[in-house]
């Protein structure tokens, strides 16, 4: 673990730097704290910052760039005639990198010595055997030039890492020394540390924003890629979802409509369950319950929100599904034969509704509580009863916020996966019967990407188009919801 030791080394330098900076600050002030611009610990931290930040920055940069440079250097070693027909230099290089890693593995497992692994005269067969017994992936294309290139790759990489370690430690030391030299009573160490912290926070914020951006961009690029292979109009307006995994793209029907229909149907069932129950629970908790009841009931309700959705999925599969079949299935309590199996829109919708209850109720509860007491007093003062007051004053005043809460719940319902996978089945169907198995966009994303699939085929890339569709839908819902909630908030500030 050379990187681990390298970082330990940098940290050690930083620690020593802190102590030295602290001492030097004290000494430079002649032991009189008041002569220092900042507290001595700030001088210490200044040293820490100036040794760690450049050193770690350099490490990260080096780790990112080195593989590219090494690959470039090594790829020249592979003669053109060694590149198989239909393959490319890039693919062969992947092979080289894999072999190099395999050699590392073999050395670590003790199959061969480091010297044997480096020795260009070791026969390819011996090395291949070592690779195999170390459990590394070995393909038929492992030829002598590839093995040589792999050895070279290891060699160059090793040198690179050595160079990096030396350079990083040097940078850390120079940074620390530089900061130590700065340390004298007038130096504004406190301000420097303040800026360092600011930079750290900005960094954290930009990572959050940039990753989101990166995810969206990758969604977009892959979606565009998908539409190159599969016509967009067939995707958006196709009424059939029947992917084929033979790898012949032409045979697949990838229409999104049945999936969207399943998503909406299940979400609507969920909302029909969650909205009234959640809303009534919120009204009870905020308007009728005594403080003690509220103190007990509200956390209990919110525990529901903490249950992982896979557990709800199990509940749907093992409890709710069979229960529904025993009522609506053949020979069931109602004597109708609407439901064939446990997996159905109803099953998933009911369970998802239960999952959403605490979500709706706790948001609505906050919103109802935000309605000023003065409005209730005004209504009571006119001789209205409690339920009249709630129906005619509190709820209308809270309505925009409640609508917002419902939209947020809807966007959660649309994005929910596990309950659907376990409760609604995997059949993409355009059907009105809620006791029929259907599936949703999210469940299909899972099934398109699990198992063996070629990530360049339309059958796999369609997952990105589905993801993009979902993303746009929930984004619109969330934006509308937040807009409504915010306009509402402004009203009572």
């Amino acid at each position: 673990m050379p990187i681990f030791w390298l970082i330990t080394g940098v940290l050690a330098i930083a620690c020593i730097g802190y102590v030295l900076g602290h001492r030097r600050a004290m000494a430079s002030a002649g032991g009189n704290l008041r002569r220092l611009h900042s507290l001595p610990s700030y001088y210490g931290l200044n040293v820490v910052l100036k040794s760690i930040v450049p050193a770690l920055g350099l490490t990260i940069l080096w780790l990112l760039l080195q593989p590219i440079f090494v690959s470039n250097a090594v790829s020249g070693m592979i003669p053109d005639n060694e590149i198989p027909f239909g393959s490319s230099r890039g693919l062969v290089m992947t092979e080289v990198v894999r072999t190099a890693k395999g050699l590392n593995q073999a050395v670590a497992a003790g199959e061969i010595t480091e010297a044997t692994a480096q020795n260009r005269n070791t026969s390819v067969d011996d090395l291949t055997d070592a690779l195999k017994s170390a459990g590394a992936v070995v393909t038929s294309t492992l030829t002598a030039p590839v093995m040589t290139a792999a050895q070279a790759y290891r060699e160059v990489s090793r040198k690179g890492y050595l160079g990096m370690s030396a350079l990083v430690l040097l940078v850390a030391t120079v940074g620390a020394l530089w900061a130590l030299r700065e340390t004298h009573p007038d130096f504004r160490a406190r301000n420097v540390v303040e800026q360092g912290i600011r930079a750290l926070l900005i960094g954290a914020a930009s990572i959050a924003v940039l990753t989101t951006l990166g995810i969206v961009l990758s969604l977009i690029f892959n979606t565009v890629e998908f539409f190159r292979l599969y016509p967009a109009s067939d995707f958006f307006f196709g009424l059939e979802w029947a992917p084929s995994f033979s790898g012949r793209g032409g045979a697949s029907q990838l229409g999104v409509i049945p999936l969207l229909w399943g998503t909406f149907y299940i979400s609507i069932v969920a909302l029909v369950v969650a909205v009234p129950v959640g809303l009534f629970a919120a009204i009870y908790l905020s308007e009728y319950a005594t403080p003690t009841t509220r103190a007990i009931a509200k956390p209990l309700l919110e525990i529901l929100a903490g249950i992982p959705t896979i557990v709800y999925g199990l509940f749907a599969l093992l409890t709710v599904g069979p229960l529904l079949v025993s009522v609506f299935g053949a020979g069931g309590a109602l004597g109708v034969n609407w439901q064939g199996g446990g997996r159905a829109v109803m099953t998933a919708g009911l369970v998802m509704g239960i999952m959403l209850i605490p979500f709706v109720s706790s948001l609505s509860d906050d919103i109802i509580n935000a309605v000023p007491q003065a409005l209730r007093d005004g209504s009571y003062g006119l001789g209205a009863t409690q339920s009249e007051t709630i129906k005619q004053v509190v709820l209308p005043a809270a309505l925009p916020g409640i609508v917002g809460a419902i939209l947020l719940a809807a966007s959660r319902a649309i994005g929910e996966t596990m309950i659907v996978v376990l409760g609604a089945g995997a059949a993409a169907r355009l059907d009105l019967n809620p006791f029929e198995a259907m599936t949703t966009v999210t469940a299909k994303i899972v099934s398109q990407l699990t198992g063996d699939s070629d990530f360049a085929s339309p059958e796999a890339l369609v997952a990105f188009a589905l993801g993009m569709t979902l993303f746009v839908l929930t984004l619109i819902l969330n934006v509308v919801a937040l807009y409504i909630v915010r306009t509402y908030r402004e009203q009572y500030d």
Binding site: R376, G378, Y380, G381, L382, G383, A384, A397
Partner: protein, 265 residues
Amino acid sequence: MNDMRLLQRTQGMNDIKIQANGVDVFYADNHAIKDVSVEIEDKTVTAFIGPSGCGKSTFLRCLNRMNDTIDICKVTGDILLDGEDIYDPKVDPVQLRAKVGMVFQKPNPFPKSIYDNVAYGPRIHGLAKNKAELDEIIEKSLRRGAIWDEVKDRLKQPGTGLSGGQQQRLCIARAIATEPEVLLMDEPCSALDPIATAQVEELIDELKQNYSVVIVTHSMQQAARVSQKTAFFHLGSLVEYGETGKIFTNPEDSRTESYITGRIG
């Protein structure tokens, strides 16, 4: 009591509308009102004055049982409206509040249209048989609230869009629309500017022809301007009650005098 009546500023005597006997109010352990007895006359403006925290609002809220909405609040003693005990178990507080209306310190129009704000009480209590009758009640109430001319062209617009003074007059009109017999006002002008205050005071003066009005106020000038009777509260007790003219010019109790001359705040 009889001696005071002789000094009455306004001509003629009015009937007793509300009579309170030995009222005590507790908020949990806090004894907020201590043995208060008072007679409030019909067609009169009665002012409650006193330093803040002395229990004026608390006592006012006893008169229409608004304290029932506060869990920890306990009221003992008798309060009679037209000779009937309003704390009798037979009395429905909801119906009582239709008879004893209330206007609050901060204007609190509902987030509905001006029309619906005023129509709220009549609709709940079924005072109008049809739309035309309701329209009539609303116009009448808004006129009585001295705000008709300002809002007659915008009845469908939200009540929350009016200025503070207009909102308060709307709330008064809303209270009047229920046709109460008594109107309780808790510092109705404290959130208003001087011009709006003057409008509301003028309105109160007109209202006394039909109603018994009880107004809590922080401003002694206001009490002197609008009321015929004044009650001075201090630390939960009713210290002195009588003709406004007498309370302000010749108080009997030294605490009243101290308050009026600004020595108790």
